[in-house]
């Protein structure tokens, strides 16, 4: 582990099958599903955190991750397994420009125009930040 990538352990691949396997083992509560832009390695990392309830086999949690090609990121939707993943995947689509295959409704949550560069990609300039003088420069 280099420390800069996400949760330890092997990548969950293929993604949807790996998630399905954990859900079948009782890890059916979605706590987190998000993305991390890694321009240096040309990847977008997907991170998931699943929890198993005490009555479903003992309270336990599991972290999973996978890496997508940053140039053409494509993720399989897991909304069929975890309905709560729907909004998280919409957000990953909107904010990181990841295509999510098999998602029922990828309408943007916040942006008016998804064609604009994905705001949470590290190389997307924040216009407000560019226009605003840095308050720390005063003296």
């Amino acid at each position: 582990m280099s420390g800069v990538t996400g949760p330890p352990g092997p990548l969950w691949e293929p993604w949807a099958d790996a998630v399905a396997q954990r859900v079948a083992a009782g890890f059916d509560r979605l706590d987190l599903l998000t993305a991390v832009d890694r321009p240096a390695s040309g990847e977008i990392e997907i991170v998931i955190h699943l929890v198993r309830r005490p009555e479903a086999g003992g309270l336990e949690d599991v972290w999973g991750h996978t890496l997508l090609d940053r140039a053409a990121p494509m993720l399989e939707s897991v909304t069929g397994l975890l309905p709560a993943a729907a909004w998280h995947e919409r957000e990953i689509h909107e904010m990181f420009g990841v295509q999510v295959s098999g998602h029922p409704d990828l309408r943007p949550l916040l942006l008016l125009d998804v064609a604009s560069p994905p705001p949470l990609r590290k190389d997307t300039p924040l216009v407000a930040r560019v226009d605003t003088p840095w308050p720390g420069a005063r003296r």
Partner: protein
Amino acid sequence: MSEIPHQARGAIALDAAACTSCMLCVKECPDWCIHIESHNEEVSEPGARRPRSVAVLDSFTIDWGLCMYCGICVEVCPFDALHWVPEHDYPAPDAQGLRHGIARLEEFGPS
């Protein structure tokens, strides 16, 4: 309703007398939501060989509309002029009203 824990990050209170206008919080704030105006004054003390220059704080503003409550400003302040208070209920009718100056930030008071 349950009690708000005393260590809750509700608001950041300012102790203006402790602030030296060093600008560290302004420079470190990731959101650029702190603005400081200050000027220097010469202070002559009896027995001193020449007057000292001290920074006088004219204004100190936190924009709660931008603040993400990360606490970096509180951490970096070398003079403990900033501290967390549990008070969290300070809505405003417009964005301008979320910009609190010295008086309002001091009102949050000691924790």
